[in-house]
Amino acid sequence: MSEKSFYRAFEDRHRGSRELIKSRLDVYRSFIKPLIHSVERSYGIDLGCGRGEWLEILEEMGISGLGVDLDPGMLSSCSERGLKAIQGDAIAYLATLEDESQIVVSAFHMVEHISFDQLQNLVQEAHRVLKPGGLLIMETPNPENIMVATCSFYLDPTHTRPIPPDLLLFLTEFCNFSRSKILRLQEDVQTIQSTSLNLNHVLGGASPDYAVIAQKAAAEDIQSKCDYAFSLNYGVDTITIATNYSDQQNQKLFRLEEAESTLKAIYSSFSWRITRPLRWFGNLCRKFRRRSNLSSLKFLLRKRYFRTLGGVILVRRLESSAREFLHFSACHLSRKPDTDKTNSLSSEAQKIYAKLKAKA
């Protein structure tokens, strides 16, 4: 079995549809749009362009994009749509470009296929070829997501190793990009909003992909155009989910304990005792009515009782292991705000907060 056909077959199975991939790239539009010059032609280069979804988007935005990919099969999809793409080694091609010629250099799910030395090279060259204010975008699987880091990352045998977001971010800082940002992407919106998180959310709910967007230094008026896009928050990481999950479990336990004590109070209350003969009589009637089903009913009730009890035990055990797991994150997140927004601050602090948040 040739390597090429294996990879083709693998891709066919696991790669998403064209529409799906294009929709995921929309998030980057708001970063690039402000940089497009009205008169001059803007150029962009996509390293590892695949079937050209990103090139299509660049074209829609009025940027002249060029793609580079090693796989000729992919390139045919590009040329069919009139998108410019050449075959070759992406990093080598990058080195041949002129200084300050591009406004965007992109690498989607590409950097996890190369060695760290090559990655450093890529970022350095990208910095060279970008115009002032230009953007470097690198998207790659997010190892903060536990399922990704332990399993799904390795589904693709050509992946080298997972890259932690802080490492990629630091690399751009180190190569003198003036500002960079981590965008966590492709998470299920349920994970952020859900009020009944479970362990699946904790293990696999964090954003499965992330991107680092780095901007080359430029004059204030050019750089500030991207301020809004850089100021937003994207995605969710495992620590946040785990904390929310733990909080919800605590709440449940608390309600459980409250219910327990209420129940105790009821059982020891005067009115419960007084109605005992009534309950006995009612049970008796029910017994006569359902004589045949009594044994099966009892069996069912007992089973449910145990299931509930088991559930409580399981929750408690998970609670303690989750507590251990979260020990370091408890130190990391020294505080969290109250659940309702404005009242969590004093009146003076609210005024200061408003000033800090105000748009320039």
Partner: protein, 848 residues
């Protein structure tokens, strides 16, 4: 001159090391020597809360608590985490803005190269440049030995960043002449901007008069001969390898009579390396002793017993072990490099640390030549006198005063200070200009911190915690106290305070209970009176009036500490210790819960109990549990009020007058017991004793008034199925106050048989109604009723039965002691008494 000392050096991990101890010692010395003409303030970082209480206590004798300033910031800010950048920069601005507001004439930074992996914030000139900054300069070890200390790229980047920042300081205090010269040479600091204030032995290093366990320790460590001692960390610059080599080079006959002791802990791989090296040079295991980690006291023992001390390090900021050895008048030989000669001050005692031969010769000389050794010992006695903290502090203060006065004019011209009204606005503007990624949560916490740091001077707040009452009025005894004290304080606030009820829940931290208070005082609700988070500053008082559930108190334990860190006086009311002292009468788990709650609230400034009896029980319990309380912790007591309460609970229960009952009650002596039926109230014993009396033919009535409580099923059974029921035994459950009044009028005596009470309100009620009291002899009843009651002892029904008979006899002779003289307080008086118990008038023994 107003001096502000930033004492973060004693808060970070450095507090266990030389820098931390130096910071604290020099600060104390400055406080001692700055009395005339200088006002000294201490600045602490609220984001490192764990040591603040300890530092406040440690400095308590030298400075008044309101001169210790604490600023709050955002966290985490450790450099090592890239995501902390915005917070790091914001914190620097927040700290400098806070300092700016205090308007000191000079700021002294006790440490600077911190914060790589932990919380620490210090910057110079990022907010404005109006205040001169003095920095203590320790050493340049990473800069001079980069291969060893700066090999980690990230750490190196951080270190150089700090170097650039520290060069912005205006003046420097170095810990030795050598480090002063290093600063001039490598930092390019002008001679006029740095002074050597030297160092001294740590104040926490007193000399032990008697050294116990000397022989035990030495034999435990395998030291059986006179020994040459060295103690230090095991960095290469400490020169252990050459020392081993030099010692091995000694004459064999000499070596036989001595041992080389390397004292102190060291990493395993260093230990292995040294041992291997020693082997290679022919030193056996019993000639070279590694003590491993030992305590300070054990170190002192080793110092006192050594034959001589050696210090071959080739670079030091100061070299404290040399001075420590000199405290014990020992002969010291040492390296002639960097700052060490300054301490020894005797050329003969020094050697070249890079020459093994020289070192070896010196070792041999000091061990074998008695005259040489005594000369060195004499030198130690003499030289150590030139080092003291007071001397260092005086030099520092003189130098700073001089420099500030000569440069004052220059400073004012070049640097405009920010007008005080706009410090906050300037700070907000600067934070907004930070172009680094941050979250909304960061902005929220920053707003919190800024509002706390720049709170305008206002009237002192009395923050009254009414958390449980706000949620729901359960009409328990405790809630009655809370309602009444709150009402009294709202209507008559203590002098100099404004009363602010507050509450917290599991979902949120403390807020002002504005809405509840308005309803409580029957005021109209104004729409903008939301319950916002509380603000506080030093001088406010927090009183935990309501009794919080243990888990709620635990949730907010750190908040109580935070308030105390900022100089708020935090105190709690203790109603009783019943779940702990009578666990058999309480619900399961109540004992542990109450213990936990007490442990939390005893880490406060004081507790006020509702009776002297409870105060005594509390003190005994604290001692028994061995709980360490803060330095000026007080346990006080007060008494509750007993005015008949204006019942606000709604319509009275319908009153069914039963004339028959009243005829029976009035016909013979009727004994009354009022209170919820629960085990600790002793109803079982009362019923048993009355059964005995009835058997004996004594014709008296017994009346119980009270709701059914917990754990009393068998008692209730007995009451319901009793043969005397409705004849001579009555139980009224859930009756109106009017009905109860009538019962009081008809009865002859109140029985108070509780095994334990917090206060004993029923006794006072009896006194109101003028009926005599028959009470169990427990301390709190004696406290409340004094001689105005008849007491009985014993848990057996027989005891109470005979007491009742005695009482009947006295009654027939009209020799009963009446209760009408029983003293009691109104709630207004009780509230005033509570103010005294809480020392709100500032009459605490600690300085406020």
């Amino acid at each position: 001159m107003r001096i502000l000392i930033d004492l973060q050096g004693s808060q970070t991990g450095s507090r266990y090391r030389g820098i931390g101890r130096y910071s604290l010692d020099i600060t104390k010395a400055i406080l001692r020597n700055a009395a005339v003409g200088h006002e000294v303030f201490i600045l602490l970082n609220g984001g490192i809360p764990s040591e603040i209480t300890a530092l406040r206590e440690e400095l308590d004798d030298l400075i008044s608590q309101d001169h210790i300033l604490v600023w709050e910031g955002v966290g985490p800010v450790a450099y090592v985490n890239l995501g902390n950048r915005w917070r790091q920069r914001a914190n620097e601005l927040i700290r400098e803005a806070y300092i700016c507001q205090q308007k000191p004439d000079v700021v002294i930074l006790t440490t600077f190269f911190e914060g790589y992996g932990e919380e620490f914030t210090a910057s110079i000139g990022r907010f404005d440049n109006s205040i001169p900054v003095v920095c203590i300069f320790y050493d340049l070890i990473p800069l001079l030995f980069p291969k060893e200390y700066l090999s980690h790229a990230w750490y190196s980047k951080w270190y150089w960043g700090r170097v650039d920042e520290v060069k912005k300081a205006n003046y420097f205090l170095s810990i030795s002449n050598a480090s002063k010269n290093d600063a001039i040479q490598y930092f390019g600091i002008e001679k006029s901007r740095i002074v050597n204030i030297s160092s001294a032995v740590s104040e926490s290093y007193p000399i032990l008069k008697e050294l116990h366990n000397t022989r035990n320790l030495l034999s435990h460590l395998g030291i059986n001969k006179p020994y040459l001692m060295y103690t230090s960390a095991t960095d290469p610059r400490k020169n252990h390898l050459r020392l081993i080599e030099a010692y091995a080079k000694l004459d064999a006959t000499v070596r036989k009579g001595y041992q080389l002791v390397l004292a102190g802990g060291l990493p395993k791989h260093h230990l292995k390396k040294f041992q291997k090296y020693a082997n290679q040079h022919g030193l056996s295991a019993d000639e070279l002793i590694f003590t491993g980690q030992i305590t300070d006291d054990e170190m002192k023992i080793l110092y006192s017993q050594c034959r001589a001390f050696i210090f071959p390090s080739w670079y030091e900021g100061f070299g404290l072990p040399v001075l420590e050895a000199m405290q014990f008048n020992k002969a010291v030989i040492a390296s002639n490099q960097s700052s060490i000669p300054e301490i020894i001050q005797l050329q003969d005692a020094l050697f070249d640390p890079f020459s093994v031969t020289e070192m070896s010769e010196k070792i041999e000389k000091v061990l074998t030549d008695k005259d040489f050794r005594s000369a060195l010992e004499e030198n130690s006695i003499k030289a150590k006198k030139s080092f003291s903290w007071d001397y260092s502090a005086k030099v520092a203060l003189a130098a700073i005063t001089d420099w500030v006065s000569t440069c004052q004019s220059n400073f004012d011209i070049h640097n405009q200070s920010t007008p005080s009204e706009s410090v906050v606005d300037c700070l907000i503007e600067k934070i907004r200009q930070l172009k680094l990624p941050h979250s909304d949560l960061d902005l929220i916490i920053a707003s919190e911190a800024i509002s706390l740091n720049h709170r305008s001077v206002q009237k002192r707040q009395l923050l009254v915690d009414i958390s449980v009452l706000v949620e729901r009025d359960a009409k328990t005894g405790i809630q009655r106290v809370v309602r009444n004290i709150l009402r009294e304080w709202l209507l008559n606030p203590p002098d100099g305070f404004i009363v602010k009820p507050v509450y917290a829940s599991m979902n949120h931290s403390y807020r002002y209970a504005n809405q509840f208070t308005n309803r409580f005082l029957n005021k109209a609700l104004s729409p903008d009176q939301e319950d916002t988070a509380i603000e506080f500053s030093a001088g406010d008082c927090f009183v935990g009036l309501d009794l919080l559930y243990p888990f709620l108190a635990k949730e907010h334990a750190h908040f109580y500490q935070k308030m105390r860190n900022h100089g708020v006086i935090v105190q709690f009311i203790v109603y009783d210790l019943l779940p702990i002292l009578l666990p058999q009468h309480s619900v399961e788990g109540a004992s542990e819960g109450h213990s936990e709650w007490l442990k939390i609230v005893s880490q406060s400034d004081g507790l006020a109990c509702i009776s002297r009896a409870v105060a005594n029980e509390l003190k005994a319990w604290l001692q028994k549990e061995g709980i360490k309380t803060p330095k000026h912790f007080l346990v006080n007591w007060f008494h509750l009020g007993a005015d008949p309460e204006i019942d606000q609970s709604g319509p009275l229960a319908p009153h069914k007058a039963n004339l028959e009952e009243f005829k029976i009650l009035a016909s013979k002596p009727s004994f009354l017991s009022v209170g919820t039926l629960e085990p600790r109230k002793g109803h079982e014993q009362v019923l048993d004793s009355f059964e005995q009396l009835w058997e004996q033919g004594i014709d008296i009535n017994l009346v119980f008034v009270g709701k059914q409580g917990w754990k009393v099923e068998s008692l209730i059974n007995r009451l319901k199925n009793h043969p005397e029921k409705s004849r001579r035994l009555f139980w009224f459950d859930g009756i109106s106050d009017l009905h109860l009044n009538e019962i009081y009028q008809t009865c002859s005596c109140l029985i108070a048989a509780s095994e334990g009470e917090g206060f004993g309100l029923p006794l006072i009620e009896a006194a109101h109604h003028g009926i005599p009291i028959l009470a169990r002899s427990i301390p709190v009843f004696h406290e409340v009723a004094g001689p105005n009651a008849f007491y009985f002892e014993g848990k057996h029904p027989q005891h109470l039965a005979s007491a009742v008979q005695e009482w009947l006899q006295l009654s027939s002779k009209n020799k009963l002691v009446s209760s009408k003289d029983l003293p009691w307080l109104t709630w207004a008086q009780s509230a005033k008494r509570l103010e005294q118990a809480l020392c709100l008038d500032g009459s605490r023994s600690k300085v406020l």
